[in-house]
Symmetry: C2
Subunit: 242 residues, 2 copies
């Protein structure tokens, strides 16, 4: 069973103040890249695995998806997603991605934003996603990058010239990483990039694109804090077809 940190009051309060929680997809700097990795959603049956406040579900519905199912572990997030949805076109379901069962061949597109780093067993998850997709269906997801997650002391250092540099250690030591993010004790699971890609291939997916997100010059001009995100990739974005 996964840790349900999003329903922790302190975590939820902090997370709710993030730009992406307030402003949705337009405030997530990796969204334009992720969107470009997706097929046209018109007419598609879509499942959003770790849908949070439902921003992507609403976007998919507004862009012509025929059916949208949003799944999340957090009751608090779903309680905010449901009333923000104008009609019954989106179904929200509370479930743990670690134990999720989905109907076979029911979706054309599976989407998952920044959720799978909370999953200990990605092999089971990818197999369930693959089985839920029609042949030729697409899976597009983002996750924290293993370069970002690997170290047990993951904070910026200065190199010999005083330039910021990001520590990578314990990279081959896969498993839990307990960090402080809004609240102590947030458990995420580090695995190598190879492990993630091989698990996808093992589940029967063909990898179509791998992106290590970095902000654009325009994004850095808008938000100078993002400049450090050119030094090390924070997010890994992957698309695959079944």
């Amino acid at each position: 069973m996964s840790q349900n940190i999003y329903d922790d009051p302190e975590f939820f309060a902090g997370y709710s103040r993030l730009p992406r929680s307030v402003g949705g997809l337009a405030s997530a700097p990796e969204w334009p890249v992720l969107r470009a990795m997706m097929p046209d959603v018109r007419g598609l049956r879509i499942v959003d695995l770790g849908c949070g406040f439902g921003w992507f579900c609403r976007w998919a519905h507004e862009n012509g998806a025929s059916e949208v199912l949003g799944i999340d572990l957090s009751e608090k997030m779903l309680a905010r997603a449901r009333p923000a949805t104008p009609d019954t076109a989106i179904t929200y379901l509370q479930a743990d991605l670690a134990t999720l069962e989905l109907s076979a061949r029911s979706f054309d597109l599976a989407y998952s934003s920044l959720a799978i780093h909370y999953l200990e067993d990605v092999t089971r998850f990818f197999a369930k996603v693959r089985a839920a997709l029609v042949p030729g269906g697409n899976f597009v997801f983002s996750t924290e990058h293993p370069i970002f997650m690997a170290s047990h002391n993951a904070r910026w250092l200065s190199d010999a010239d005083g330039r910021p540099t990001w520590p990578v250690d314990s990279y081959l030591a896969e498993g839990p990483r307990t960090t402080e993010w809004f609240t102590p004790g947030v458990v995420k699971y580090h695995r190598t990039l190879g492990t993630t890609l091989n698990a996808l291939i093992g589940a029967g997916f063909t990898i179509t694109h791998v992106e290590e997100f970095g902000p654009t010059p325009a994004q850095i001009a808008d938000n100078p804090d993002l400049v450090k995100e050119r030094e090390r990739p924070m997010f890994l974005l992957v698309s695959a077809h079944s």
Copy 2:
């Protein structure tokens, strides 16, 4: 045109003393993993791109390959490879991988060990490799890992607890990295893992396995210096089929 650093006398002397130069494949810790990513070579026509002293070419010949072509830029390395080969089963060719032309559909397996990080343009190279393979042929290669290559100050640091940590910065800044390895001024080309994989996919390959090499406990017991190589991956190993 690629830098021909291997023919620099000082570099060549240093490189020639490396365990892998003296002991061949058995002294390359990543070899067992790379070998496991390859098909049975019996009866295959094989091209080794960056063959160096010819260790892999001889191994492939001894293991039943029907035809082996070894290509390298370094005359000094080929001058040592040629007399070490017992018969005419292996052809050695001096050529720059950056400008290489290969006959179409001539090989069943393309192999490249720790060479492509010297190539500025991997897109052209992968297209040439793909065209040289028969449909269903395999391409297996190793390269320095972008985590290993990215930083402009790529040397071990200590974290707040005094543990060794590896600096990653400039990860998204692809391009040349000039380092000192046996001699100053060795030019390698950093690109993200995504760029390498997307270039393969763009050339028409299907990725079958991605491995970020780390030494095994037995290898560390034999050579305690290898323990640090669990902290950050030094090599990226990829297999793909055409």
